[in-house]
Amino acid sequence: MKKLLMFMGVLCLLVACAKDPLSDLTDEDSQVFITNYDDTVSFSSYKTFATSSDSIIVLQNNRFYLSALSPELNFVQNVTNKFKERGYTRVEKTASPDLMVNIIRVSNSSVGITQNPNYGGYGYGGYYPSSYSFYEITENYWYVEVLDKKNYVANGNKYNVIWNAEIRGNGIFDDGSLNNLVNAVFKQSSYLNR
């Protein structure tokens, strides 16, 4: 019996070998940069852009508000600088810019409920009623979109999104990493220039 118990102990050790595959993932490696663009558009046909300089949009569970924390304004400044580097001229919103750049911090969270089934009929007639467990999903990421204001009428009186970028992962709201994040999305968007 002693041997069998030791043997079972070895089996338990083996079973316990499962490991979290992301446990050694650094913040930088966790970051994902997703860019989408309208491949029918010629980005060199636009000259000016506008963006808000004093705040960003925070989108939280289908409602939004403006925010102006220091890292957020730094992020805006980094994006603005990149558009300028690519040859676009910044103008005020009231000056009919060709492009409108929206900078959004998405902060969604949702709570779900799962039901655990009941168990009954074991032992001395014990009955365990159904129980409920709660789980919460949160997602926080940067979202930058570029609207085509120049062709508003030609597009049927609507602003088409011709470019957007999502930045997801750990450490994306750290002040020190903002420049690298913006560089990364523009690096993979070489078509975005005059």
Partner: protein
């Protein structure tokens, strides 16, 4: 990256070393355990009479009692192995790195005729980190570090054919199995996961060697290699195919 590789390959080696030390311990322990007393079954009159009728010399009394109980009886065997697995065509498009977390537990009924039937539960966990790359499609670009994982959990009915008798300390065997193979494909883009989880009918074929250094103790060493396959198509994968080799311990009793 280098330290990761060292960790990846050292972990199974350390586990195997641990199992071997454990086995040595069992072997030493077995030195102090006298041979399991055997109460012979009540002799059946009919066969003896038959033998006498055929004029064959009756030699049961002395010879029979030296036969191993494992030769005389259908017995049970429990074994556990740990090793490495390498992906094969169909899976290599997704993962190329060998799996260092691969184990299997087998419980079987070993018949006197030299074959066994049992149940095998295994676990093969492939994981590979792909350095940051730009993945593109029309109108979309994604830059990410991918962590590609695939976990296969076969729960199979297994059968073995032993090529030598139960008295032999080394028993090579061929084995085949079939049953449910649960496959869990998760490709992490950074921390975002894209996955699919399915259960398929899988099969394995292979062989191994069962070595019982001290026949009195019931403990032994198992060395085996298996070819796994199951239909599974998702993402970069077109089929689950892998070859694994494992070293383990076994315990048999009657």
């Amino acid at each position: 990256m280098k330290s990761n590789n060292i960790k990846r390959y050292c972990q199974p080696l350390a586990t195997v070393a641990f199992l071997v030390i454990l086995l040595i311990h069992f072997g030493a322990f077995a030195q102090y355990v006298p041979y399991r007393s055997y109460q012979p079954r009540q002799k059946q009159q009919q066969p003896t009479t038959k033998i006498k009728q055929q004029g064959i010399q009756e030699d049961d009394e002395d010879e029979h009692k030296y036969l191993s109980p494992y030769q005389r009886y259908t017995h049970f065997k429990l074994s556990a192995g740990y090793g490495v697995a390498t992906p094969q065509a169909g899976l290599t498009e997704y993962i190329k790195a060998p799996a260092s977390r691969n184990w299997a537990i087998t419980g079987e009924v070993v018949f006197k005729k030299g074959f066994s039937v049992g149940l095998q539960i295994g676990y093969i966990n492939f994981a590979e980190r792909i350095a940051r790359q730009l993945y593109g499609a029309t109108g979309t670009n994604i830059s990410a570090v991918q962590t590609r994982t695939l976990a296969a959990t076969p729960i199979h009915v297994v059968s073995k054919i032993f090529l030598l008798g139960a008295s032999s300390p080394i028993r090579p065997y061929l084995q085949g199995s079939f049953g449910a193979t649960m496959l869990n494909y998760v490709n992490y883009w950074g921390t975002l996961d894209d996955g699919n989880n399915e259960t398929k009918l899988g099969t394995t074929l292979g062989g191994g060697i069962s070595w019982t250094p001290n026949p009195q103790s019931g403990f032994g060493i198992e060395l085996k290699a298996l070819y796994h396959q199951a239909p599974f198509q998702y993402g970069y994968m077109t089929k689950f195919v892998a070859v694994d080799a494992s070293l383990g311990i076994s315990y048999r009793w009657y």
